[in-house]
Symmetry: C2
Subunit: 230 residues, 2 copies
DNA sequence: TCGAATTTGTGATAATATTAACTAAATAAC
DNA sequence: GTTATTTAGTTAATATTATCACAAATTCGA
């Protein structure tokens, strides 16, 4: 087991492993080798073994990995057993969708409160989670451990609300706004879900494929023309 | 300008450049150097120049880059000028949030229709976008060019709906379900927005920092104890 | 107009990340 | 019980990515 800092790329793959293992476990599959897992995920067995080796030895030569044990290990590595408390800031459309649909507890997080400025929804509850006024934010934090804030306010407010969060001692933010809320120097831990970045990447890949197809078609066309001439 | 295949990492950075340039442009800043941009984004100037050099020469020695010209170039690289048509499949919470809040046209996409199976919402319109029945999906595709589908159905239906989409000739999917809808061999272009993966990464980084802090505290504690003893 | 100061684009280099090869342990077959 | 097979963990090799360094082009103040 290596003890050096684990790279970003590895961390980004761990949740995928976890999801796949969950799926296999649900299917009643109890044992898997690195090559089988690699086939399922489109990764090389080497990479999988190397990734796991960052955190320990979870397999058995000649056997492979026990699915449910490995699942537990990875879940633990990712911190799902730490019972982090989250608050949602901004109960607009996205925030609402998260409260309704996203099962925080599946991933070891407790969504303990939501906050908004809209008087019409303050005091209500969605899925057992109360919506409080931003005025009560600081007081709430004094009485509750909060490990992360889910930022889902309209983008115009992203920066000012981030200031409020940091002033109140929030150290980690799950950012759904389309704005970069922390500069390179910031001590905040920020995880961005920039929808537009994602869509633009997709747009690029579509364009790339279209261009390839167009080039291929043009080549065929030229060949055909040359043949007809002859 | 290099003509080799542009790497994934580069593509993932391009949208960030675009967003920052948009911001600078809105602030009336017309000129920027790679080092200034690097400072804003936490990247090295070299990397920025190298990234851009994959696509052409957009700068000017001794001057830097013209913000709005560069913005246009990058937008074009990402395909925002191609007028891609998108359809939304699944008008639940997330789908609804996208229709209400996400401005597809800002990124060069036209959301031309949504589809769902819920009779109560079929026939309605949100933000000018009509909601149709999945029964009409195939017919709609016959009459309209559709470049990508936004998949926002409950995860139980993710795979079966993906089958329907591919059967109907959809080649690219923006996937909001928490499920991997395409294996390694699939010809589909899939861009995933796995919320849970993102949250778990955040959870890891929080845990990592907590552990570091705990280790530091323990070290100080030991030092203090040793000193007291003496 | 000139010369110093900028700043790009790029080839060379350094650093990372991935893949392959190897070793040893465990299992399965006979 | 012995042997062939499987397969993890690890070290080495390869490939990819990021950074450095510098020539060439341009700007800008004097």
């Amino acid at each position: 087991m290596k003890k050096i800092k684990v790279s970003n790329n590895v961390i980004r793959r761990m949740p995928r492993y976890l999801r796949k293992l969950d799926e296999l476990d649900a299917q009643g599959i109890s044992r898997i080798s690195s090559s089988e897992l690699g086939n399922l995920l489109g990764l090389t067995p080497s990479q999988i073994r190397q990734d796991f080796s960052c955190f320990g030895e979870f397999g058995q030569q000649g056997y492979g990995y026990n699915v449910s044990a490995l699942k537990e290990e990875i879940a633990k590595i990712l911190g799902t057993d730490r019972g982090y408390n989250a608050v949602l800031v901004g109960v607009g459309n996205i925030g609402r969708a998260l409260m309704d649909n996203f099962c925080f507890s599946d991933w070891g997080c407790n969504l303990i409160s939501a906050f908004d400025v809209d008087k019409d929804i303050i005091g209500r509850e969605i899925n057992g989670v109360p919506i409080r006024s931003m005025d009560d934010f600081s007081g709430f934090l004094a009485e509750n451990r909060v490990d992360l804030a889910v930022l889902a306010v309209p983008k115009e407010y992203a920066l000012s609300v981030t200031d409020v969060l940091t002033e109140n001692g929030i150290k980690a933010i799950w950012n759904f706004t389309n704005v970069d809320i922390a500069g390179p120097e910031s001590p905040l831990i920020v995880e961005n879900l920039h929808f537009s970045d994602s869509l633009l990447s997709l747009s690029y890949y579509i364009s790339e494929r279209n261009d390839e197809n167009a080039a291929r078609a043009a080549r065929l066309e030229r060949q055909k023309a040359a043949k007809d001439k002859k």
